[in-house]
Assembly symmetry: C2
Homo-oligomer: 200 residues x 2
Amino acid sequence: MKKITFWFEFASTYSYLAAMRIEPLAQAAGVVVEWKPFLLGPIFAGQGLTDSPFNVFPIKGAYTWRDLERECIKYGFPVLQKPAVFPGNGLLAARVATLGADADWQADFVRGIYTAQFVEGKALADTETSVGVLDALGVDGAAIVEWSMSDQGVKDALKANTAVAQEVGVFGAPTFTCADGELFWGNDRLDDAVAWAVRG
Amino acid sequence: MKKITFWFEFASTYSYLAAMRIEPLAQAAGVVVEWKPFLLGPIFAGQGLTDSPFNVFPIKGAYTWRDLERECIKYGFPVLQKPAVFPGNGLLAARVATLGADADWQADFVRGIYTAQFVEGKALADTETSVGVLDALGVDGAAIVEWSMSDQGVKDALKANTAVAQEVGVFGAPTFTCADGELFWGNDRLDDAVAWAVRG
């Protein structure tokens, strides 16, 4: 089965769009999605950035919120709202998504966190946000969050994801990689990435 | 007649794609294109950037040349090559395009410079590049270049374009603005911008 790897960071706005769009596109193309959480902070730091580019370049940042609003309308998704704290800290949610790599709730959890953060105004970093999304999926949120934060294997796996992301050339999110190593950056390239995965 | 304003900088790679694509899209939609040359240097400097973002963030820059290659193939355009000097200095060509604002050769000159620079390997800053493109269009290249560089009105008009660009929120190129002020950044938003101009 052909595969596409979807590299996402929970604080990333355009990853919200990609997370909502990728499954139907991939399924229609006969491609399996590998959901790969990673942390953008260390990768931005390696580029000399210590904050979101939206904040570093405020005129571009202001434009970007407007662009996101138009994009949400175009795709028929609830319009994304700027969180009170931006970028939020996605460590806990990324640990949970890493723990859930082989669980049937992983993709729903990812979409749930993006919706909670960008549509419902919940804080990404709050434990209750992750617990609430998990509970709504019918699994034991408190237990999974506790496990995610205390398990050394989960911690190491997320660090490894971030290291591999950097090795394969990821510099932002969302990013899509295909089996042959071809890399596509940004929600605007999702369709091209899926088409590449089909040909690959 | 409905109008879309196309803000372009000659050193901008994605402006090459937009310059090649905009006329057929706009014509099909019944929209007139206003070609507006400006200089990105002063605008980048206002954001604290003193070089192309492609050079400031080299991993992203390397990706971008690959993305441009794929985009050229997608659109059926000759594949863009990285110039020996990048970003080139587009002052002379921007002055000529400013002088030609009401001339029937303006759009052809713009497309010609992008092709000379990004396909034929000619230096953007060289006088001969602009002269050659103009001569090929059947006008007097040497005379127009001389006029462009010596005329205070042309100099002031290009400065005014750049000042207006900054005022309306342009932070990169290509940018498209509609009559109601709506702004779209990047070749990836050209179709959306034309659709907006139609509705506006």
